[in-house]
Symmetry: C2
Subunit: 430 residues, 2 copies
Amino acid sequence: MKKKTFNLAIVGLGNIGSYFYKHLTYNKDQIEKKTNTNINIKYLSARNKSKKRKISIPKSKWIKNYLDVTKKKDVDIIIELIGGSEGPAKKLVFNGIKNRKHIVTANKSLISKYGNELSKLAESNKVNLEFEAAVAGGVPIIRVLKEGLITNKINKIYGILNGTSNYILSKMSESKLNFNEVLLNAKKLGYAESNPKSDLNGEDAKSKIQILSSLAFNCFINKSDINVEGIQSVDQIDIQNAKTLGYKIKHLAIAELKENKLIQSVHTCMIKKNSYIANINGVLNAVIIEGKPIGNYTMQGEGAGPGPTTSALISDICSILRGNIKLPFTIADKNRKKIKTMNFSQQYFSSYIRLDVLDKAGVLSGITKILSKNHISVKRLIQNQFRSKKFASIIIISHQSKNSNITKAISELSNKKFIINKPKFFRIEV
Amino acid sequence: MKKKTFNLAIVGLGNIGSYFYKHLTYNKDQIEKKTNTNINIKYLSARNKSKKRKISIPKSKWIKNYLDVTKKKDVDIIIELIGGSEGPAKKLVFNGIKNRKHIVTANKSLISKYGNELSKLAESNKVNLEFEAAVAGGVPIIRVLKEGLITNKINKIYGILNGTSNYILSKMSESKLNFNEVLLNAKKLGYAESNPKSDLNGEDAKSKIQILSSLAFNCFINKSDINVEGIQSVDQIDIQNAKTLGYKIKHLAIAELKENKLIQSVHTCMIKKNSYIANINGVLNAVIIEGKPIGNYTMQGEGAGPGPTTSALISDICSILRGNIKLPFTIADKNRKKIKTMNFSQQYFSSYIRLDVLDKAGVLSGITKILSKNHISVKRLIQNQFRSKKFASIIIISHQSKNSNITKAISELSNKKFIINKPKFFRIEV
């Protein structure tokens, strides 16, 4: 069998791109052996050639205008490592596919936003669009969903998909430091970006669960009715309360089918401290799948960083090198389902509510009145006096109540004069 | 693109085979959609046609002589579900490949014994030989090693690969029942076969770790120098002692590279009770991989049973339906390494040793003399009197000592008159 030669162009040479280029160069032989092909890293491009990097860019490979790689005849595969759902990354990937280049990308925002269009375009142009690195780098979850668990009927997929958030919550739990102290530390150690907004507010995990649920349920990526909450509201006192109550606080991304409707949510919650997911600590990611016939299946690994991302990128490249065209979401565009969503506000949860209040007569009855009006019944209530004795903290564990009722009650409570801090509430997942 | 048609023959219709046939029939549409092919379940064969089954076998599909499916022109893929490394399964798979049929098998004994020969044969006949279902059914570890982690440099792969053993150890830990009571119960519940010998003595896990290490280290399946121990020697008192010492007792399969040499072992050991692997309970399987660039990566799921096995078989079939020929061990026979092994007896371990002794003067010095002679130094020693007061149980935690020295010391101790029961020892894994 004659060996085919594939020419690769890498666009984006930041932290990830540089590491990836180095690893690819170093492991060229092994990849060629395992795929029975020849590969050339033909072109490299990035915004700024002279930026300080751990690699040196050979003159012969440098392309000034990154979009040129989409037009060159001697490019077969483009590896997009620019990032962002708009601008250069979007242009590169759309143009690349139109010009019949295979695409490998680590770009979760791009895929979650334009994955439906890109997938259709790739299908009609008969090229591959691979994005293993976009979700949980060190956990080959995309390939497992597309190949290992093909034809399993999955009814729920959830997990910890943002390493930064999980690192911060784990550290708060270990160290008793507060949110801002831990965040500062995480930045120093490289576990949080200088602008960690999309990690902390849930947006990053949201992109990832959208991609996963689309693969798990064979439907189009669904952007409506997603509940997105981050970890910014978690105080050290909530971490401590969770411990006392037998829980841990974790930030989960959840996609689930109920009555054939899709529910997607990203939120911070309390979860039994002995459960599997409660014990995923540090920057680790974990994914749990409930399906038939496989039963419960879980994977964990490092979610981000140059090493895990590179592992995912190489696996995508090898899949392309092996030769056949695979549909980006395993099924043809015409077979992907338009799934209906179920509004998250209609879901039922048991909740943890923390209210810091003035310690005076009538407060407790004021609270219970609002709860009762909103059909929230109390399972457990603990009142702790502050050191100053003028204030108290009231912790309520509610029975299962409708999400919209809880948020309404919280909002009503917020306006009461006896409430001295913004009320906190976290759902309890089982 | 015109759809290709693939004809399938299933041989072996026991518990697994029947479930698989039913699932495949039911999910035919979805598989065809996801692979853009047509599939026909053309032939079925088994030892006994009239055996009571949950499925009915259509007359038109029945083949009396199972070997006929290897000769029929209208068979593309043979699914071997007979089991066993010799006899019919071996004949079917060898003949099938020689006659250019793709093979999908769940047969770990066959692959661990003849995988090297079969793989070479499949390569020269340009057919696929897939065996995802042979190791940890509900954990798609084979595909992850072959595709998701391709070109990772793995230096260790280990885990819990025998669901029956793990179920028994977990139940002993929960219930305080002894080995035989739990085993009886496991048989009743279907978690242990009526003849569970190969599950309990480590042979089953041995086959699986041989297959995994061959894939992880890109070498031929290696049959020499494997240490194989089962769980039969675990007493309830050891489970209790482990708890007191902060450990859990688990049966692990381990393959590791040291100085470019391969170490393979299957043994019962103590492991820190808070570690990930110590908390894999019941019939679950788990695999941990240490590699570069991926870091630490773990997977867990149900290891056996009709559902998980079927999930694995279908994923193998889909991989074949997608059309390209893949090498069974990802690299060509000529590129697979002949790896040297390191003798397990030369490895160093900290150990737990339990000696039931006559409670009289001189015993302790008799024990420590033998340990010292064999270069085993004691880290911790606990003596508990039996209720009868004539006997005592001595627990020793040793510092790191050479495996051969420990086994020699244990054997010398066994011959001492003051030892009243067979001495127990378990390695402590870190």
